[in-house]
Symmetry: C2
Subunit: 325 residues, 2 copies
C-alpha cells in the first residue's frame, strides 16, 4: 500500500519512522508547504511541495494529514478528501461532530474514504472507552493523562515575560488512580486528578517569584490544578527534558448481577517514550485499514469505532485467529 505524509512536523516524522516497522507500506513522499529543498527527511523519503500533490493522485492509496487541529485540519481534511483517501488526528473533542460532517460530505461526494480523529486520544483511548462501556453499560469512565509532556501548557509558559524555555508534565495523582482502580467510583475534581509539573528556564535576573505566580494563576491552564514550578538551567532542560513522553489510563468501573452485586474494573494504559512516534504508528495502522475499507467500497468519513480490528493488522485473518485469538 502506498501512503504519503502531508505536513512534516513532529507527527509527520513519527509517521515516517513508523513505516519501517510496516514492510507492507511504502512511503511515496512527504508533502510540505515549505520549500522542499529546505526539508531533510529522517529516512531520505522524497519531499515535494503541496502544489504537486494532485499529480500523485494515482500513486497514493492513503494520505496521512499531519496538521494542527486548531486551524489546519478543519480546512485540510475536507479539501483533501475530495481527491484522496485521508486520515487525520483531529483532537478538538468538542468540534468532532462538525468536522465529521464536513469530511463525510466531501468524501461521499467524491467516493473516497476518510478517517478522522485517530491516534491515542482520540483513538486508542476512545476505543477502550467504547469496549468497556459496551460490556459494562452501568458504570463510570475515568481518563488520566500522563506522566507526559503537554505541548500546549509548555507553550503557555514560554509566553510569560522573562521565560526562555519551559516544559510542562501532566502527572496523574496516584491516590486518585488507586481509588478508581479499586472500583470506589470517586467523584474527582480537576485538582484531584492531575498535577502540573513545570520546568522553567528564566532570563538572567528575571523575577522568579512573579513568573511562578503568573504560571500558577494562569486561568484554564494552571489555576485549577496543583502546580509545581522548578527553575532550571538551559543545559539541564536539554539534558533531562528533551523527550516527548506521554501516556495515561482509561478506566471504567461498572457493575453486574441481578442486584448490581458484583463490580468490575477495565483499564487500558499507555506508557510512551515518544508521543509523536506512537501516534504516527497508529496512523500507519489506520492507513492500512482505510485502504482496505476503500477497496471494499466503504466510502465516506469513518472513525476508529467503524474499523474492524483485523483491518489494522498486517497479519492475515488466518494468522490472527491461530495466534492472537
Amino acid at each position: 500500500m502506498n501512503i504519503a505524509i502531508y505536513g512534516y512536523g513532529n507527527l509527520g516524522r513519527g509517521v515516517e519512522a513508523a513505516v519501517k516497522y510496516n514492510p507492507d507500506m511504502t512511503l511515496v513522499g512527504v508533502f510540505t508547504r515549505r520549500s522542499p529543498e529546505s526539508v531533510q527527511t529522517l529516512t531520505g523519503a522524497p519531499v515535494y511541495h503541496i502544489g504537486e500533490l494532485l499529480s500523485f493522485k494515482d500513486r497514493i492509496d492513503v494520505l496521512i494529514i499531519c496538521g494542527g487541529s486548531a486551524t489546519d485540519l478543519p480546512e485540510m481534511t475536507p479539501t483533501l478528501a475530495r481527491d484522496f483517501n485521508v486520515i487525520d488526528s483531529f483532537d478538538t473533542h468538542a468540534k468532532i461532530p462538525e468536522h465529521f460532517a464536513r469530511v463525510d460530505s466531501a468524501a461521499r461526494e467524491s467516493g473516497t474514504t476518510a478517517l478522522i480523529s485517530s491516534g491515542w486520544d482520540p483513538g486508542l483511548f476512545s476505543i477502550a472507552r467504547l469496549y468497556a462501556g459496551a460490556v459494562l453499560p452501568s458504570g463510570n469512565d475515568y481518563t488520566f493523562w500522563g506522566r507526559g509532556i503537554s505541548q500546549g501548557h509548555s507553550d503557555a509558559i514560554r509566553r510569560i515575560a522573562g521565560v526562555v524555555d519551559a516544559r510542562q508534565y501532566t502527572v496523574p495523582k496516584e491516590d486518585a488512580l488507586a481509588s478508581v482502580r479499586a472500583g470506589e467510583n470517586p467523584t474527582l475534581t480537576t485538582r484531584q486528578k492531575h498535577l502540573r509539573e513545570c520546568y522553567v528556564v528564566a532570563e538572567e535576573g528575571a523575577d522568579l517569584e512573579r513568573i511562578e505566580r503568573e504560571i500558577k494563576e494562569m486561568p484554564n491552564y494552571f489555576a485549577d490544578y496543583d502546580t509545581t514550578v522548578a527553575f532550571i538551567s538551559a543545559e539541564e532542560l536539554k539534558a533531562n527534558h528533551r523527550g516527548m513522553p506521554h501516556g495515561g489510563s482509561v478506566i471504567r468501573s461498572g457493575i453486574s448481577g441481578i442486584s448490581g452485586e458484583h463490580s468490575h474494573t477495565v483499564e487500558f494504559s499507555l506508557r510512551l517514550d515518544s508521543n509523536p512516534e506512537f501516534t504516527g504508528s497508529m496512523l500507519v495502522a489506520c492507513a492500512r485499514a482505510i485502504g482496505r475499507m476503500h477497496s471494499r467500497g466503504e466510502v465516506g468519513c469513518k472513525t476508529v469505532f467503524d474499523i474492524p480490528p483485523a483491518d489494522l493488522s498486517a497479519k492475515s485473518p488466518e494468522e490472527l485467529r491461530a495466534h492472537l485469538l
Copy 2:
C-alpha cells in the same frame, strides 16, 4: 433485539443477568437439556427444552450458546448455526482454526452469522493483543491471568483421594509484572509468571502431607508452578472462597524510531468480581453486533477481530462520536 440462551450453567446465568443492563435486548427464553420444570431462572425468564428450539426460529435474532469447549461447543455451534445466528465462547485456543472452519461452513450454507470464541480470553484480551500488535509491530506480548479462580485446577484437586472441596487461585507474580510493565522484555518461564494458590478441605483424618504432595507434583496442572496449599474448613471455604473472581493483564512492549530508540508499553487489564457475569455481559454486547452484521448481510463465521467496535454499543454512531471519541 431478541436473544435466547442455550445451556443454563454459570455462563448462562451470567448472560441472563446481563440482559437487564441492556434495555435494547429481550431475552426470549432459556433452552436446556434438563427438564424445564427443574430449572428456576434468576429473572423468571421462561425455560424450554432444547427440543422446542426450532419452533422459535422466527422469534430469536441471536442464540447465545453457553456450553463447554471440550465436548459441547464443537458439536453445538456448527449444528445450531444451520438455523440461527449464534455466539459461543469456545476457548480451546489450539482448536480455534478447526472450530472456525466448521462453523463458517455451516453458517455460509445457511446464510446465518456466527461468532466464536468471545468473552474476555479469548475475546477482549485477543482484541487488546491485536490493537497493540498493529500499532507496535516490533515487540513482545505478555499475558498474565488472575488473581482468579481456575475452575479446571480446582476440579483437578477435588479428584484427589481425601479431598472434599477445593478452590485454586491463579496469581500473577508481581516482580514479573513489574518487569514487563517497565519495558524490560524479560524471558519468563511458566514458574516465573504465575503462582498457584490452593485452598483445600480434606476429609477428617486424611493424610494432608500426601494430598499436598499429590497437588504439587501433578503434571500439567501444578508441577511447573510454585504452588501453595492451605487446608481450611468447609465453613471457611464457603465464607471466603465462594466467589468467581478473575482478571489479568495483556501487555505489549514495543519499539519505535529510526533506530528503535524509543520504547512503549500498552496494557489492558481486567479486575472481575464475577467471571461468568462479565463474560455474559461481553456475549450480550456481541449478540447486538452479530444481529446488526446479519442485518447488513454479513454472513459466515466471525471473530471479535471482525466486529467494528461501534456495533457492540447500544449508543448511536452520533452519540459515540460526540461523547466517547
